[in-house]
């Protein structure tokens, strides 16, 4: 097993380190991996989060309050004090092994009885189990999405570049269609380094290979977030099946959760000692994959594929004013919390859309991505603009942030506006929502599309109708900046006024009388 431990003692120079060494040695002797964070007088080096994540259990050999204890939340733990760890490290380790086998974190043991469902995760907190579950679901999802994004980025940009090269390499306008029709065999057998067409095919096929992983990676890492390493196999396998049966990313979301919870459940079985060693390597991946496969092929796969088809058809059926409305809504979501949960919902919707199979060049999914990215650029750009044209409405710190916000906005990092929203939430958010939704709607109206999930101005060459895209961003930026200037002008911030009075006082005497003491 793998353990992490924290040791500390009142003086912080002896027991802390003896306990650490004793636990590590006892672990070595018993065949367990033990990593100890010594919170002593010599300072403490925090444990690598990856090590904490991989740990089966936690040992607290601490006589002082454990620093940053929340890092270990949800793991089975024993709390023994530092002295016991020094004198009886083997016993402490045995206690920890027992706690892991019981499978329930010590502090949650009482609450566990109230949540009997077998596959369910441990409750996060005793007080607010519902909010905790919601947060965890979001974290699982975002884990999957965050691992998927680099695949989308690499694949999307390669494909887009492939189309750009194809446009130039084939006569007329047939390039983007022709490039997808070239068989892979031609590329392998007769690649010519001087042929633009061959390069186009190479770029396109490589990007397509990266895209082939999207659903599997999404599913695999959702399962990983839930069940740790045992979740990877059923998650990936489920995601791959989802693609085969046409259930797309929707199926991938389902298999991520199904595979993750199956793996989690199976890995908690109480099995004879002899079998325990092969559980994580053989039994858990085998059984959880088999069950996931059965469910996807036979039980729930078909209905999910139907829903997926429905969603795709609905999106493709959207046109004109409906698309503009959708752009406005997604834009408003992007601008609302600047990188928070609502922003992420809109963004995830757009990114997972990119993973849909068999999209045509002007697919609605690409237009959604363009609208979401354009809207996400508005808030920081607008704050930068507002601090430039109306300096006196902002504090010194905000003016500094404003300079950085230009670059953040251009790079599609909505978080650049957070310092402004934190200082003055409702004025900034109201203006941001208004401007971002204008941009979202305009981007839809001008028909821009984007295959890359990120990049801001730097992927402009990959955006169709780039001028329209820029126009949409600019209009929203001006709108947001205008609204925030008007709102802030109605009732100037007392902080800004105080700063300006201080500036005035500081500037006046400096001009007339130089202080004697420099």
């Amino acid at each position: 097993m793998k353990f992490v431990a924290v040791s500390s003692c009142p003086t912080g120079i002896a027991h802390t380190y003896m306990a650490a060494e004793a636990l590590e040695q006892a672990g070595k002797a018993a065949g367990h991996e033990v990593h100890v964070e010594t919170q002593g007088a010599a300072g403490s080096t925090p444990l690598d989060p990856a090590i904490i994540a991989a740990a089966d259990g936690v040992i607290y050999a601490a006589d002082l309050e454990v620093q940053a204890k929340e890092r270990f939340a949800g793991k089975p733990s024993v709390d023994v004090g530092v002295k016991k760890a020094v004198h009886d490290p083997t016993g402490v380790l045995a206690q920890a092994v027992a706690a892991v086998e019981a499978g329930v974190p010590a502090e949650d043991a009482a609450a566990a009885g109230a949540v009997p469902s077998a596959g369910a995760p441990r409750p996060v907190t005793k007080v607010d189990a519902n909010a905790g579950a919601g947060t965890r679901i979001r974290q699982w999802l975002m884990t999957g999405v965050s691992y998927m994004i680099p695949f989308v980025a690499a694949g999307g940009i390669l494909i887009a570049l492939g189309f750009m090269v194809a446009q130039a390499a084939w006569p007329g306008n047939e390039g983007p269609v022709a490039v997808t029709a070239v068989p892979v065999e031609d590329l392998i057998t007769s690649f010519s380094i001087t042929s633009g067409q061959d390069w186009a095919v190479l770029l396109y096929q490589t990007g397509a290979a990266a895209f082939g992983f999207l659903v599997a990676v999404l599913s695999g890492f959702i399962a990983y977030a839930i069940a740790d390493r045992p979740g990877l196999v059923p998650g990936f396998v489920g995601g791959a099946i989802s693609v085969v049966i046409g259930a797309g990313f929707l199926g991938g979301l389902v298999t991520g959760f199904v595979g993750g919870f199956l793996a989690l459940w199976i890995s908690r079985w109480r099995v004879p000692k002899g079998v325990r060693g092969v559980m994580p390597v053989v039994v858990t991946p085998l059984l959880s994959s088999l069950i996931t496969g059965f469910l996807m092929f036979v039980v729930i796969g078909r209905p999910i594929a139907d829903v997926m088809d429905g969603l795709t058809n609905w999106l493709n059926g959207l046109s004109g004013s409906n698309l503009v409305l959708m752009g406005a809504l997604l834009g408003a979501m992007m601008g609302f919390d600047l990188g928070g949960p609502i922003n992420k919902v809109a963004y995830t919707f757009a990114v997972t859309g990119l993973a849909t199979e068999g999209l045509t060049g002007d697919a609605v999914q690409y237009r959604i991505m363009a609208a979401v990215m354009a809207a996400g650029m508005v808030a920081p750009l607008a704050m930068a603009l507002a601090t430039t044209v109306r300096k006196r409405l902002f504090t010194h710190a905000e003016r500094e942030n404003g300079k950085a916000a230009w670059l953040l906005g251009l790079s599609f990092i909505s978080e650049g506006a957070i310092p402004f929203a934190a200082a003055d939430p409702w004025r900034v958010i109201v203006s941001s929502v208004v401007g971002s939704s204008v941009t979202g709607a305009l981007t839809m109206a001008v028909g821009s599309g984007l295959r890359a999930p990120h990049g801001g101005i730097w992927v402009l060459p990959l955006i169709s109708n780039p001028l329209g895209f820029l126009l949409a961003v600019a209009v929203g930026t001006v709108v947001t900046a205008g609204v925030v200037v008007v709102l802030k002008g109605l009732r100037p911030s007392p902080l800004v006024q105080a700063e300006q009075e201080a500036d005035a006082v500081a500037a006046a005497p400096a001009a007339t009388t130089q202080p004697a003491v420099a």
Partner: protein, 151 residues
């Protein structure tokens, strides 16, 4: 580091001590004689206070009295090998090896790292045995200097 943590003059081999307090007092005297502790009585009181909090007897016949104190001039380690073991509050029996750690109140990180390394070495039986086997003070000091390296 300017001053080594320990040296031959800070090692007492074959100490005859009546009890824990007596052994501590003799080791403090070594530190005071070397000028590493400015006020022997004051430092002894600090060590006693720490000992009262939780006895520092360690497994394997080791006593590890220690304190961070304003009466300490330089971070130091005094080592005593007792002729007769005395009780140091460890569950597995009395102590024959005593390490007295004197750390200045505002000890800097480098010295604390060395002390941490010493504590870690003490867990290993081979290290303790080599000290018990060492014939004289110079050898003890040398073993400590050689083995105790901050990781």
């Amino acid at each position: 580091m300017s001053l080594p943590l320990t040296s031959a003059e800070l090692v007492g081999v074959d100490l005859a001590a009546a009890d824990r307090d007596d052994a501590t007092r003799q080791l403090i005297a070594l530190l005071a004689a070397a000028g590493r502790v400015t006020d022997a009585e004051g430092f002894h009181a600090d060590v006693r206070a720490r000992e009262a909090q939780m006895a520092t007897g360690m497994p394997g016949g080791v006593g590890l009295p220690h304190a961070r104190s304003e009466h300490v001039a330089a971070p130091s380690l005094a080592v005593g090998k007792l002729r007769e073991p005395v009780d140091w509050g460890a569950p597995d029996g009395p102590a024959r090896l005593v390490f007295l750690i004197a750390a200045p109140a505002g000890g800097d990180a480098d010295h604390l790292q060395i002390l941490a390394a010493l504590a870690r070495r003490l867990v290993h039986e081979s290290f303790r045995q080599s000290l018990l086997d060492a014939p004289d003070a110079a050898t003890v000091a040398e073993i400590v200097q050689r083995e105790v390296v901050p990781s």
